[in-house]
């Protein structure tokens, strides 16, 4: 990068007129800027004190405090660049007085900077210099662009070798003389093959034909002051000329100020040439844009300076002006141009000058292309062109040398780059990129013209013109208000993918119950949370897993005091979550569902058994209406018929009612309690619940020792005949059941193995609440009957206590008291005592039987409805003992009449003196309490009578169930034949019978596990009035009966 650095510009910063300083000091400062270094400087010449100046230019430099140095970042350059040492010089020509004598200063350092000191000191000294430089530059730039024409020109001008343009001195006037001297270097004919270099040759030693050759010069209308910039062209790095030649060049090129001043009518030419070295300049012309590399030449053309001259001052010093910098051959044309401009300048009085307003010379048009600035004038005269070309040829060698010398350091630097060794290639090259300083392409400094001067008017006019031009030109910055239609931003469709937007519709209807619920729920939840917090505090150490498993209610009890709300939410969420997980399972397992099923079943049963149930409850049965109804709707025409039918039915009913007397009473089977479980089991006992008349306890179990199967106790509800409400299964057969009176939910169950268990039918569990199986006093034989008795405890009779009494085949009548468990006390031990009437025989028998067992197996008992201290106990012997709870050893009485085991004893509910017993001896006997002999005996069949029951409605009616049939007896009607006989199906034995408490229904249990409900129909109407009388009548039957 560094190697390619070029001068980018050379700027003359200031030039002071010596008059102003009073020391007649001419000070010129300039700077040339290259990309990475700058060449700059200033020199001051004390014009008035010539004596102080050194004899040579070098000296002058020192004396005039001329600082001339290159400031570059490259130290090598700095070191070697002190151009003035090598022969730079400033040669003022003429005295620096105010009269403005022509003065020429030629500086010929190695840098080939020539500087014409012939400033119009009285007026604008500085601009003139700048102007010239600017022009120089312009032309130089333009000249580069047309290499080929220059070739032609060169041929033409070959012999001339020198081009010099002399400004028309006459015009400029004494004080305003401005000369452009081109610090030309002697032109050497270029070597063959080097002809490419096209730069203008330095005019030298030729009489200035410029005046004659440039007739069109006045035509050039430079009006504005051009930018005062000197732009050093880039150096060709390839140039490799020894430095020594440069020095010599400098001498040769130097102009003679003295002659200049004298002969050229005081035209002081200050040539400032900054030569940028160019690599193979000729080639470079066309390719490199002039802006980037250009030669800037300021040349004061000295027409007379055709030959090198040496100027001596008074002291004999050589003051021959020498070029400060070598001008390239390409600068020849610029010089010409400058010269031509000089003329125009003269005509224009040098007020303002603009290079881009120069006209192109027609002859040059075809040859030269414009530079980027496009405004440079092409040399005005073809003559000069030819000259310059000639110079070119001459100069080429010089140029080369100069170039080389100028940039020897750079060359030195560049050369190693060519021979790159491997090491260098591998070496890390540090490249420093630095910002260049401002590159100015155009600068137009102010030009001051005295108001009194001649040109003032012109200048002002031109200025006005310019102003107006600026004002009116297109694209100025005048503010204009305009409406603008801007294009609307083009809409762009973009598809964006995002999460699905969940829409939720929420409708809220707050009803009263809603409010109630939410209020309640809050309370409940708060309670729950409280509880859970307690739990959590208690189980703080419980691992999280356990806590998670604890269930939704207690999942989130951590710091629930603070976050009770959150807890509530979590609880709800957890609940919901759980529900989702095993929704159906949860539903099926829920108790509520179970209950609902239960109710549903009942409802179904109700539908199914509706007529039966109605009949059971003795409600009017709407059996006919339901099937008829659809017909009503379907066939409106048949309405009458239907009505007729209905009427008929009504009539029939009436008839039935009328026939009731005629139609014998019968048993209408309603339904039977049975299910799969009970099938095949023997119904051993029946018991109504004391509180709920619809609840029936049924014990299933076989009586025979060999027939024992599993036992079952069921609670049936009238509302569901198809399935028992409760089932208590037991490996042993159930022989007795009874519901408690005081606590209707307690069901006592006696088993064949002697166990007495008490169940709570309220709970669904099948485990008995009390069990005597562990009791040491439990029965050893089957418990044939159980009964809850409310017994008077004290003398007052108000304090009643319920006891459970059981009778067992082991001959004990026991009283069970519920305290801690079941406490058992024997009420009676049934001994085998023969009838007191036949004591001796009995004793004998007893003795004989005593060998087997001293105890008489008890089969049944019955407490007196009024006096709960008195009870009857039936034994296997066939005796019925009247006992008292007060005596557990003795019988009060013994009723003998049955020849077989007494299976059931029942007091008449109305007449408390009468009781009924049945036995395996096929007979049913009605006893009177006072009479020890049977009052009435019935032996209708030859089958074992298992059960008897008094009707709750009538004191005359009782039912007896023997193996083959159920008989309903109405003693008022007949004591010989049963009123109703219901024969069992073959193979089925009736085992139990029980009247419904509030209805005319009879429940009959059989050996197949069915409890059939019969409705007693057409029973003889019993007048409610005078039941007592009826009892009396019953009792009064007694005398009739035997008869």
């Amino acid at each position: 990068m560094k190697k390619e650095r070029r001068f980018s510009k050379l700027q003359v910063i200031s030039a002071k007129r010596p008059q102003e300083t009073g020391q007649s000091c001419h000070c010129i400062s300039f700077s040339a800027k290259v990309k990475n270094f700058s060449v700059g400087g200033s020199f001051r010449d004390n014009w008035g004190q010539r004596g102080e100046r050194g004899s040579d230019s070098v000296k002058v430099t020192q004396q005039g405090r001329t600082r001339f140095g290159f400031q570059a970042r490259d130290p090598s350059l700095k070191a070697g660049a002190s151009p003035f040492k090598g022969g730079g010089g400033i040669c003022p020509q003429g005295s620096p007085h105010r009269s403005g004598g022509p003065r020429s200063l030629t500086m010929m350092p190695t840098s080939s900077l020539s500087f014409p000191p012939s400033l119009p000191l009285n007026r604008v000294g500085l601009p003139s210099i700048l102007l010239t430089t600017g022009l120089q530059y312009e032309q130089d730039a333009s000249s580069r662009l047309g290499p080929e024409p220059r070739d032609n020109r060169r041929k033409e001008a070959e012999p001339q070798g020198v081009v010099s343009l002399a400004p028309p001195r006459s015009r400029s006037g004494a004080d305003r003389k401005k000369g452009r001297r081109r610090t030309g270097s002697p032109i050497h004919p270029p070597a063959a093959g080097e002809t490419q270099s096209l730069g203008g040759a330095w005019g030298r030693g030729r009489p200035p034909p410029s005046s004659s050759r440039r007739p069109e010069l006045p035509l050039a209308p430079p009006t504005l002051c051009p930018p005062l910039r000197l732009r050093p062209p880039p150096r060709p790095p390839a140039a490799s000329q020894p430095r020594g030649r440069l020095l010599s060049l400098g001498s040769t090129v130097s102009m003679t100020p003295g002659k200049h001043s004298g002969a050229s009518a005081g035209a002081t030419n200050l040539g400032v040439g900054v030569q940028g070295l160019q690599k193979q300049t000729g080639k470079g012309w066309s390719t490199t844009p002039p802006a980037s590399r250009h030669h800037a030449h300021v040349t004061g053309k000295q027409p007379q300076a055709t030959e090198p001259r040496i100027v001596f001052d008074v002291n004999g010093d050589d003051v021959t002006p020498r070029p400060l910098c070598h001008l390239e051959h390409g600068t020849a044309k610029p010089s010409r141009l400058l010269a031509s401009q000089e003329g125009s300048l003269g005509s224009e009085h040098f007020i303002s000058y603009s290079p881009f307003q120069n006209t192109l010379h027609p002859t040059m048009l075809g040859q030269l292309t414009r530079s980027a600035l496009g405004s440079s004038t092409i040399s005005k005269s073809s003559l000069s062109t030819t000259e310059s070309i000639a110079e070119d040829l001459e100069e080429l060698s010089y140029k080369r040398e100069r170039l080389a010398s100028f940039t020897d350091l750079r060359v030195m630097r560049t050369t190693p780059g060519k021979t790159v060794t491997k090491e260098e290639l591998e070496k890390t090259i540090e490249i420093i990129l630095t910002e260049t300083e401002t590159l100015r392409l155009f600068n137009l400094p102010t030009v001051m013209v005295s108001v009194e001067s001649e040109e003032a008017e012109k200048v002002s006019r031109r200025n006005k013109d310019y102003e107006s031009l600026c004002r009116n030109r297109l694209g100025n910055d005048l503010y204009v208000e305009r409406m603008m239609q801007t294009i609307n931003g083009a809409p762009k469709n973009k598809d964006v993918q995002c999460d699905r937007i969940i829409k939720e519709d929420k409708g809220i209807m707050s009803t009263t119950w809603d409010l109630y619920d939410s209020y309640n729920a809050l309370e409940l939840l708060s309670l729950q949370v409280k509880r859970s917090t307690v739990d959590s505090s208690n189980r703080a150490s419980v691992p999280s897993k356990d806590r998670d498993q604890r269930g939704p209610g207690s999942t989130t009890e951590k710091n629930s005091e603070a976050s009770s709300l959150m807890d509530i939410e979590n609880v709800i969420l957890a609940k919901m979550h759980d529900d989702e997980e095993d929704h159906s399972d949860a539903i099926f397992k829920s108790e509520k569902f179970h209950q609902d099923l239960f109710f549903m079943e009942r409802v179904l049963m109700e539908n199914v058994f509706q007529p039966k149930l109605a009949a059971y409850r003795q409600l009017p049965v709407l059996k006919e209406l339901e099937p008829k109804k659809p017909e009503d709707f379907l066939e409106g025409e048949n309405l009458e018929e239907v009505q007729k039918v209905v009427k008929k039915e009504e009539e029939e009913e009436i008839e039935i009612g009328a026939q009731q007397s005629t139609i014998p009473a019968n048993l209408e089977r309603l339904w039977s309690f049975s299910c799969d479980l009970t099938k095949g089991l023997n119904v051993s006992s029946l018991a109504w619940n004391k509180a709920n008349p619809d609840l029936l306890a049924v014990g299933y179990g076989h009586f025979g020792f060999k027939e024992q199967k599993k036992g079952l106790a069921c609670c049936w509800s009238i509302k569901n005949p198809m399935w028992p409400e409760r089932m208590y299964q037991n490996p042993y057969g159930v022989t007795a059941v009874d519901f408690s009176i005081g606590a209707p939910n307690l069901l006592a169950v006696g088993y064949y193995n002697g166990t007495v268990a008490v169940y709570n039918v309220q709970s669904t569990s099948n485990i008995p609440v009390l069990d005597s199986s562990e009791s040491p006093q439990k029965h050893l034989g089957p418990v044939w009957q159980l009964q809850w008795i409310e017994q008077d405890r004290g003398t007052t009779g108000d304090d009643k206590r319920e006891i459970l009494v059981s009778i067992s085949a082991d001959g004990r009548i026991s009283k069970w008291v519920i305290r801690k468990g079941l406490d058992c006390h024997d009420l009676m031990r049934l001994k085998r005592t023969t009838a007191s009437s036949n004591k001796k025989g009995g004793e004998r028998e007893k003795k004989g039987e005593a060998l087997i067992s001293r105890q008489a197996p008890g089969m049944c008992f019955a407490f007196h409805p009024k006096d709960t201290n008195i009870y009857l106990a039936g034994t296997e012997e066939g005796h019925i003992h009247k006992c008292s709870c007060s005596y557990n050893e003795q019988y009060l009485d013994t009723y003998r009449g049955h020849k077989g085991p007494v299976y059931k004893i029942a007091w008449n509910p109305f007449c408390h003196d009468v009781f009924l017993s049945c036995s395996a001896d096929w007979g049913v006997i009605i006893w009177q309490q006072e009479t020890l002999k049977p009052f009435l005996s019935f032996y209708p069949t030859t089958y074992v009578v298992y059960d008897v029951a008094w009707s709750p409605k009538s004191s005359y009616v009782f039912a007896a169930a023997n193996e083959s049939r159920v008989e309903i007896w109405d003693l008022r009607i007949s004591t010989l034949d049963p009123l109703i006989v219901n024969v069992a199906n073959p193979g089925i034995k009736f085992t139990t019978v029980l009247f419904a408490k509030h209805t005319d229904c009879l429940l009959v249990g059989d050996s197949d596990g069915q409890v059939t409900v019969y409705e007693l129909r057409n029973m003889p109407i019993v007048s409610d009035s005078g039941r007592r009388d009826m009892i009396d009548t019953l009792l009064g039957l007694r005398p009739n009966q035997p008869g």
């Binding site: 529900d579 929704h583 569902f593 109710f599 179904l604 199914v608 198809m722």
Partner: protein, 96 residues
């Protein structure tokens, strides 16, 4: 669970029972003895009706609640046992 299944079976076996179904709180049948379309129809409609009935009952007295809903029609009786989380629906032809 087995008991429930048994009960359901029994119910279905009762006289005149046409169908039994259990519908969850969302009205989605989770158990049915009827064919699909009928079940869906019954479930959807009865769910609404039950909710309405429940709302009615509770509007009258917030402390009250609907426990059972029986719809007697010419052909059937539809019995609904509602709960928060399910409906138990049984359709019966009582005149059978």
């Amino acid at each position: 669970m087995a008991e429930v299944e048994e009960t359901l079976k029994r119910i279905q076996s009762h006289k005149g029972v046409i169908g039994t179904m259990v519908v969850n709180a969302e009205g989605i049948p989770i158990r049915t003895t009827l064919d699909n379309s009928t079940t869906v129809q019954y479930a959807g409609l009865l769910h609404q009706l039950t909710m309405k009935a429940k709302s009615t009952v509770r509007d009258i007295d917030p402390q009250n609640d609907l426990t059972f809903l029986r719809i007697r029609s010419k052909k059937h009786e539809i019995m609904v046992a509602p709960d928060k989380e399910y409906l138990l629906i049984v359709i019966q032809n009582p005149c059978e």
